[in-house]
Amino acid sequence: MKKNSMMFIVMFGLACVFVSPVLAQLTPDEIVEKVDEIRNPSYDNKSDVSVVSYKPNRPDHATRYAVWIKGKDKTIVKTTEPENERGQALLMRENDFWGFFPEVSKPIRISLQQRLNGDVANGDIARTNFSGDYSAKLLRTEKISGKDFYVLELLSNKDSTTYGKVILWVMTENFWPVKAEFYAISGRYLKSCSYEDYKTIAGRLRPSKLVLKDAVVKGQYSVITYNDMVQAEIPEKNFTKEYLNKLSD
């Protein structure tokens, strides 16, 4: 028993010696990649997402979506509830977007701007990746409630990104994203996001709830809840505008 304990301590010591320099040498972009691995699995997946939007003196608005993601730049967001909006879908293929509306039964090309319209940007729902779309810079490290955090500045390097700039708080010990602030390309502070309720989703601890607070209107916020996420082999052809009228719930 004593021998085993000693062996464990030695191995742990060696692991610390070898691993810590590796972590210490992580570039800001590599940290963002690790954050992305937590926010969204790297493999194709299908998820069931609920969004409730709250506005002062307005009725709550609840929606539910089926979301299919392939790779880093192909996403379909299909509305499953409420019934009044069921069947509407949005296809995002890197810089190209199409909407599908049951009453016209055909895909309609839409702009990035239309993609961002609404209480919650579709990029938020789809958990689109930061890495690749943003260049990261480590601003500082912070200690909050006894925990160490990287504070990263992410600047958009593509026209198709949801936001111009993101400030991201990441726990140093496990790369969990905890908070983010989103800014428009103009520099205007748009909203904040807190990543909450870490649960095992698709085989790993991931935030199951995102609370997005509007930076301008006090009391206006949206809660995105990931009810389910499963790994799924999704054919490439499903992410074409021609396939939008063949989607199942």
Binding site: H61, E83, V104, T240, E242
Partner: protein, 492 residues
């Protein structure tokens, strides 16, 4: 009174179908001793399966609280298992809508022109991940015939009650191939609010272009095969179940004008013979599209029938005798769309090489001359101030072998459309405005609409369809058909 009873009957039938209790009870369950605790209430479920499971839980709680009906845990678990088996066995999701559409004429005598109640049902499911099915149908009953004598008996026979099988097909997917067999809509084109490249399906034009486009198109029986590889898509369609435009019988609100010269009143019209279903009469078409650097380009060809008959005519002793007939025709088209700095630019052009035009020339032996023509459209979409969704489209028709005798046509005729929409109050309220203009015989169609979601399922809308302009154009011709309307839609 009779009408009220009939409406009540329809409502009850719709309600029963909507609750799906009938379906759940009548369909053969996997085991004979299957017991379904169905509680029909007036809250139509958004998700039947979820609601049923909740009811099952409530049922379970009630059983536990009431010693008289206490049953053991295993039996309840067994009941749930059977219900889950039943869902798997049935493989179906049912949705639909109940809708009331009412309309009243804007001008004297302000007649009520529509009190239509519609039930629309869809069922879909999967035999396997690659093998799916979809079934849909609707039933219309128009109460206006019971409360008004606005229409004649012919219109009543044509439009009072209608049962229609809508899109009904199976989808099979394997590798890059997708096959759809059945009654279907094939939708090509990029335009908003107008039909240009949308040439495949026949149209139900009994209410002009005012209903939702999904319901204007008439689904047709046939096959569609698609091949998709990367950014390339191609489609081949063969539709032997050919349909033709419905324009309604004389006396309907939107009766289309005959190609008659001014001041000619005596005429006869024979009924056109629609080609029958069959492979010899199929519509055959192909479409290819490719996405390259954000530019989505497509091209298509369709060999089809004229969707409305060619109005051949003879003149005997001053009487115009029309013998309408359908003809085969070829249609070629191209489409494109591209986003440039938040502006979505789109366009489509359709070429009819051997179209037939009615001529205003009594010496012409059949009143028809052939000429090719091109219809094209250029449009742009943009959102202003992050809220106002705007679409503007310019259209032009160019008749290549134009002659002055062509009736109600010019060599070049132009048009515009403008659409503005905005959502308010967390998308509960939507305001829309669509204006379409034709400049040849200046005419306009204005369509303001306000819709409000009363609940997640129930939506109401109020709007107007306002026609104006010169009567030699369709918009002006229909100016007395301007109307106010309301829609109340319950989706489930």
């Amino acid at each position: 009174m009779k009408n009220q009873k009939l409406f009540c009957l329809i409502f009850v039938v719709a309600f029963v179908l909507m609750s799906r209790a009938v379906w759940a009870e009548d369909a053969a369950p996997p085991n004979d001793d299957f017991v379904m605790p169905v509680i029909v209430d007036k809250k139509a479920p958004t998700s039947y399966i979820q609601k049923m499971l909740i009811r099952l839980d409530e049922f379970e709680k009630n059983l536990r609280q009431n010693q008289k009906y206490l049953i053991v845990e295993d039996q309840l678990a067994d009941l749930k298992k059977k219900y889950e088996d039943f869902q798997d066995w049935a493989h179906i999701k049912i949705h639909g809508s109940l809708e009331n559409q009412s309309a009243i004429k804007m001008y004297q005598p302000n007649s009520v022109t529509k009190l239509r109640n519609q039930i629309y049902l869809t069922g879909s499911g999967e035999f396997s991940p690659t093998f799916k099915y979809f079934v849909s149908g609707r039933f219309n009953y128009d109460s206006v015939f019971a409360v008004s004598d606005h229409y004649n008996a012919g219109v009543e026979s044509d439009q009072k009650a209608e049962l229609e099988l809508r899109d009904t097909y199976i989808d099979y997917s394997t590798g890059p191939w997708d096959i759809r067999l059945g009654k279907q809509q094939v939708v090509w084109g990029e335009a908003v609010g107008l039909f240009y490249a949308d040439v495949v399906n026949a149209k139900d034009l009994r209410e002009f272009i005012l209903p939702d486009f999904e319901f204007i198109r008439i689904p047709e029986w046939g096959a569609s095969v698609e091949f998709t590889q990367g950014d390339f898509n191609s489609q081949l369609i063969v539709l032997p179940g050919v349909e033709f435009d419905k324009t309604g019988v004389p006396g309907t609100e939107f009766t289309y004008p005959l190609p008659l010269p001014n001041n000619v009143t005596p005429f006869t019209v024979t009924d056109p013979k629609e080609p029958k279903y069959g492979f010899d009469n199929s519509k055959i078409g192909t479409r290819v599209s490719y996405l390259i650097n954000g530019l989505d380009v497509g091209a298509f060809f369709l060999n089809s029938w004229t969707s409305s008959p060619v109005m051949y005519r003879t003149i005997n002793a001053g009487v115009y005798n029309f013998n309408p007939d359908y003809e085969r025709q070829n249609i070629f088209g191209v489409t494109f769309s591209k986003e440039i700095n938040d502006y979505v630019c789109k366009g489509e052009a359709v070429y009819y090489p051997d179209a037939r035009f009615s001529v205003n020339d009594p010496t012409d032996f059949d009143g028809i001359k052939e000429s090719g023509y091109v219809d094209y459209l250029l449009g742009v979409d943009h959102i202003f101030f992050n809220k106002w969704d705007v679409n503007v489209q310019y259209t032009q028709r160019w008749i290549m072998d134009f002659e002055n005798t062509f009736m109600n046509e010019e060599e070049f005729s132009n048009g515009f459309s403008f659409r503005l929409s905005r959502n308010w109050f967390s998308r509960k309220l939507t305001t829309e405005f669509l204006a379409i203009a034709e400049l040849r015989a200046p005419g306009f169609l204005y369509r303001p609409k306000v819709s409000y979601a009363l609940t997640d399922n129930l939506k109401m809308a109020v709007g107007a369809d306002v026609f104006s302009g010169n009567s030699s154009g369709l918009f002006g011709y229909f100016r007395n058909q301007s109307r106010w309307y309301t829609e109340l839609t319950y989706k489930f």
